[in-house]
């Protein structure tokens, strides 16, 4: 990070002025760059953004999300992706191009209440975001524990280059699928490991604003490993 350190800002607060690019969650008012949200300001390489501390999930292209099938029509499923928009999963995505609504039974593949790991294909906001489950690590989720955290705390859970989540996974012997929408699926062979991984995630959710969180989580993971 170059330039100023991160600062707590609220909507309307001037972050900086001068020739900067106003990026995520900021607007330009005259010469000033103003925050539009409660969060941490980040001035970096001539651009300014604010990392939000509150708010819901807005679908972005290529995001991995975890969704729950809420209903289906003859051509597509809709999935609750923990957002103000529902995910649209076209039937042709699952059955292939020669899908026919008369011969293929959609509920045989995905029924109401099923969990899926999906990727957002198109989120242009003019219609509901299109999602896909074809791809590596995507598809129906059969086992694991669903954990919900605030979508804003997902980057904190992942950590720098995945450091935090790798630490949790390796020390609890579990696998965590992280959806950018704040839904996670934790699975493990070892029930104790599963519980500990969930506790660690809950700790991160609670303490997301604290510095040196990694040490704290590490301590917690080790303390109960005897």
């Amino acid at each position: 990070m170059s330039g100023e350190r991160k600062r707590h800002v609220i909507p309307g607060e001037v972050i900086t002025s001068g020739s900067y690019r106003a990026e995520q969650n900021t607007i330009q008012v005259g010469d000033n760059i103003v925050s539009t949200i409660v969060g941490l300001s980040d001035v970096h390489d001539g651009s300014v953004r604010v990392i939000p501390l509150t708010g819901g999930y807005l679908p972005k292209d290529d995001d991995l999300v975890i969704g729950k099938i809420s209903s289906h029509s003859s051509l597509s499923w809709t999935a609750d992706i923990n957002s103000c928009y529902v995910g649209m999963l076209p039937a042709s995505d699952v059955f292939g191009r020669d899908y026919s609504s008369s011969s293929d039974d959609m509920t045989a593949k995905l029924a109401k209440g099923d969990l899926i790991a999906a990727r957002i294909v198109n989120a242009d906001m003019t219609r509901d975001p299109l999602i896909t489950i074809s791809g590596r690590e995507l598809g129906k989720i059969d086992s694991g524990e669903l954990v919900k955290i605030s979508p804003n705390k997902v980057p904190r859970l992942i950590g720098k280059r995945g450091s935090m989540i790798q630490m949790i996974e390796s020390s609890t012997n579990s696998q965590v699928t992280i959806g950018q929408n704040g839904l996670l699926v934790v699975s493990s062979e070892d029930p104790n490991g599963l519980l500990k991984a969930i506790q660690a995630i809950e700790l991160i959710e609670e303490q997301a604003h604290v510095a040196n969180l990694t040490d704290q989580v590490n301590e917690m993971l080790e303390s109960k490993s005897e």
């Binding site: 350190r5 991160k6 707590h8 609220i10 909507p11 309307g12 607060e13 001037v14 969650n25 607007i27 008012v29 103003v34 539009t36 949200i37 409660v38 941490l40 939000p52 501390l53 509150t54 708010g55 819901g56 807005l58 103000c84 928009y85 906001m125 003019t126 804003n152 303490q207 604003h209 604290v210 510095a211």
Partner: protein, 245 residues
């Protein structure tokens, strides 16, 4: 509104008002953000003896569907007074006055919120007046903008509300219930302090052009004071504990 006959001395010879304030002094304002678990954002505000609870939901699906706008999100506000908020029981059905206040608060918040980012959705703001003592529209507006920020709705600025007015021939700041009933004028102001823009301006009563100018001036000053408290409420909730990253 020529002022009703009452026994109350609105302004004594020392320039002290009926509740002990000076002419340019606001009542004590306290705000707490994030008080409700089930709403996406919330705030509780005490503005003197006014007590108001605000809950914000959204952005979320619009029902009925025909209200949704494909270009932008919509803002819906409901200002409501609890039956026990005033001396004599208030009928809980929305009155003409409540419909009006809901509308003006919605219009006062609209310049601040940036709903273009959420087309086809709605943001709902519910303001519940638990106790009323004059100036509830400003207090509700102030609380609503804190609750919106708490919900993470992008906003150009917070909106602070404070009324100015005239009682006993003097220009006063933050009109209370007695001054509203027996005074000569009431001028509620909604103001975006960083953008320096007025979003709500109503006038009940008669003011000379000079008095009007004075009212605007001290009203904006009052809004700036209220803004500092709004700011503190949000800082306390989000940055209150723990170290900075």
């Amino acid at each position: 509104m020529g002022g009703r006959d009452t026994d109350i001395v609105l302004l004594d010879e020392n320039g002290i008002r009926c509740d002990g304030r000076k002419v340019n002094e606001t009542r004590k304002v306290t705000i707490k953000a994030g008080v409700l678990k089930n709403a996406n954002g919330s705030a509780y505000i005490e503005f003197g003896d006014n007590k108001i609870l605000v809950g914000v939901y959204g952005p979320r699906d619009v029902h009925p569907k025909h209200m949704s706008d494909t270009d932008t999100g919509i803002l819906r506000c409901r200002y409501h007074m609890a039956p026990f908020s005033v001396g004599e029981r208030k009928n809980p059905a929305p009155s003409r006055r409540e419909v009006e206040i809901s509308k003006v608060i919605k219009e006062a918040l609209e310049p601040a919120v940036m709903l273009k980012e959420f087309p086809r959705t709605a943001v709902d703001v519910y303001m519940e007046v638990l106790q009323a003592d004059g100036g509830t529209r400003c207090a509700a507006l102030t609380g609503a903008s804190v609750a919106l920020a708490d919900a993470g709705i992008p906003m150009r600025d917070l909106v602070a509300g404070c009324a100015a007015g005239k009682a006993a021939d003097a220009v006063i700041l933050d009109v209370n219930n007695e001054e509203d009933q027996a005074g000569q004028a009431d001028l509620p102001i909604g103001y975006m302090p960083n953008l320096k823009k007025i979003t709500l301006l109503q006038l009940d009563g008669v003011l000379t052009p000079e008095e009007y100018k004075q009212c605007i001036e001290i009203g904006i000053d009052g809004c700036n004071q209220v803004y500092e408290i709004q700011k503190k409420a949000l800082q306390d909730k989000f940055f209150g504990s723990g170290e900075k990253q």
